[in-house]
């Protein structure tokens, strides 16, 4: 699977060296190239504050940047490894403290949904992400990293600390599950609880 990074290897090497030297333009470039995918991954995996968590991820990335060496692919794995750990921390913390959900009238489940609302929620990534949200946690991790973050099997294995074969098995089972979901009549999905 092709890497979505807009930088080639040579350009990335230049940017990395500059960022490691403290050049703000280079850090901004790394942020703009990788932050959207990180935020999307965190959103897909259930982060309540994906934007803030993304910023925290990159603060850690820049703090550890001096110790990093590698190409663009390795850097992407490096970034998502940090993002995954921060996500796990948030999910664990949420599980200990209990979840606080802000009341939003339009999202209140007691409110009768209109046809327009239903159409909106079925569109785009909402529907697909909802499908991912139905998967078990380990399969969700793999699917989010493979689809949203656009990582390879090897990269996902590195981020999750698993063997590539285990990642392949997880993605295969996830796809089977989704296929069955598409074949069956749609019912409102029950969100899995990551903190359990």
């Amino acid at each position: 699977m092709a890497d979505r990074s807009t930088l080639g290897d040579d350009a990335f090497a230049s940017v990395l060296v500059a960022a490691q030297a403290g050049a703000s333009w280079a850090c901004t470039r790394l942020w703009s190239d990788h932050a959207p995918a990180v935020a999307a991954f965190l959103t897909a995996r259930g982060s309540r504050e994906p934007d803030d968590l993304t910023s925290e991820v990159f603060l850690t990335v820049f703090d550890r940047l001096a110790s990093f060496s590698g190409d663009a692919t390795a850097f992407r794995s490096f970034v998502f490894s940090i993002a995954y750990r921060r996500l796990v921390d948030e999910l664990r913390m949420r599980g200990r403290r209990g979840e606080t959900v802000e009341l939003i009238a339009s999202e209140d489940p007691r409110r009768a949904s209109s046809a327009e609302d239903d159409a909106t929620t079925r569109l785009g990534d909402q529907r697909a992400l909802q499908l991912i949200a139905e998967l078990p946690a380990d399969q969700r991790d793999v699917m989010a990293l493979r689809i949203v973050a656009d990582l390879t099997v090897e990269q996902v294995a590195e981020v999750l600390g698993k063997q590539p074969g285990a990642v392949k098995a997880l993605q295969r089972r996830a796809l089977e599950r989704l296929r069955k979901k598409f074949e069956a009549p749609r019912t409102p999905p029950a969100l899995a609880n990551d903190s359990e």
Binding site: V17, G22, T28, R29, W31, A37, D125, I147, D150, L175
Partner: protein
């Protein structure tokens, strides 16, 4: 026959958003995954937090701004290199110190502050007043030329008779002894004084060197007497870029040392001459127009000068402070 398992190859196709060949039942799943991938690729970077924004806007430590640099939420500004905090503090302290010294030298500080400043200046740069400032300390700010110097001394040396005599604890009366003492002190005589000076008024020759030579040179280099005059002399010299340096500093030190030593000698001579118990009034009335109003601090002092106070306290002399 419909397959019920998804192979790794088919999974790879599905995850890329493509429908595996011969698996039309997976088309809808592939389309959904393609939607997710498309939406994810079109996302923009979120608004960075305050901490991250500050991190991204740090000044460049190395490298240059690249044309490829992309800003997502507004352009990042490249702040110019800034001095460190310590450098800023040092600069501010330096400016404040210079300003305080300038105001203090001009005598424009508030009363207590000016007294403190004078004390510091007297401590650092001893003048003739230092030896007696603690006795009674009243000085007359009016600078009257000493008599008997044919007027030359008026230009070259500014002497306050009263200040001098009063500083000697009032043991001398204003007589010709004052003249002699001054002549001895400043090395000037009637014969040697001259009007055509070739040295600057601060004791520096035009080439910037201190003239410590003959009596004429001493006359040509007027000696600051009071703390005010001395400080003015130092201040003016300090402002002159041609005089700043080790030579000028040496001149200041030498001047102060000579004044102090000679004054000490003078005071010792006067003490020996008048003996203990003499009640000088300290009003150094020279034979000429010297009208110093230094006051003896003894209660038995007689007061010849109208401006003297009989309680031993210094008269209010507006010009007494530099």
């Amino acid at each position: 026959m419909r397959k019920h398992t998804i192979t790794d190859a088919e999974a790879l196709q599905l995850l890329s958003g493509a429908t595996p060949e011969g698996r039309p039942e997976l088309a809808e799943l592939a389309a959904s995954i393609a939607d997710v991938r498309r939406d994810a690729s079109q996302l923009t970077a979120p608004q960075p937090s305050v901490a991250l924004a500050a991190r991204l806007e740090r000044p460049t430590l190395g490298g240059s701004v690249s044309d490829e640099s992309v800003s997502t939420k507004g352009n990042t500004t490249m702040a110019p290199p800034r001095f460190g905090l310590a450098a800023k503090i040092a600069a501010a302290v330096g400016v404040l110190a210079l300003g305080f010294m300038g105001v203090g030298a001009a005598g424009a500080l508030p009363g207590p502050a000016q007294d403190a400043f004078d004390g510091v200046v007297s401590t650092i740069v001893p003048t003739e007043d230092d030896g007696t400032a603690g006795t009674d300390g009243s000085t007359d700010g009016s600078s009257e030329g000493t008599d008997g110097t044919d007027g030359a001394l008026d230009e070259c040396v500014v002497v306050d008779d009263g200040a001098t005599d009063g500083a000697t604890d009032g043991t001398t009366n204003g007589t010709a002894e004052d003249e002699a003492a001054e002549d001895e002190l400043y090395g000037t005589t009637d014969d040697t004084t001259t009007d055509d000076t070739t040295v600057t008024d601060d004791g520096m020759t035009t080439d910037g060197t201190v003239d410590e030579g003959t009596d004429t040179a001493e006359c040509e280099a007027p000696l600051p007497v009071g703390s005010g005059e001395f400080s003015d002399w130092v201040k003016q010299g300090a402002r002159d870029p041609n005089k700043i340096g080790s030579e000028f500093g040496a001149a200041v030190s030498e001047q102060a040392r000579e004044l102090k030593n000679e004054k000490a000698e003078e005071r010792a001579a006067n003490d020996a001459e008048n003996g203990a118990g003499s009640n000088g009034n300290g009003a150094g009335n020279g034979s000429g127009n010297g009208n110093g109003i230094g006051h003896g601090n003894t209660g038995a002092a007689t007061h010849d000068d109208e401006s003297s106070t009989d309680n031993g306290k210094p008269a209010d002399t507006p010009g007494g402070r530099p």
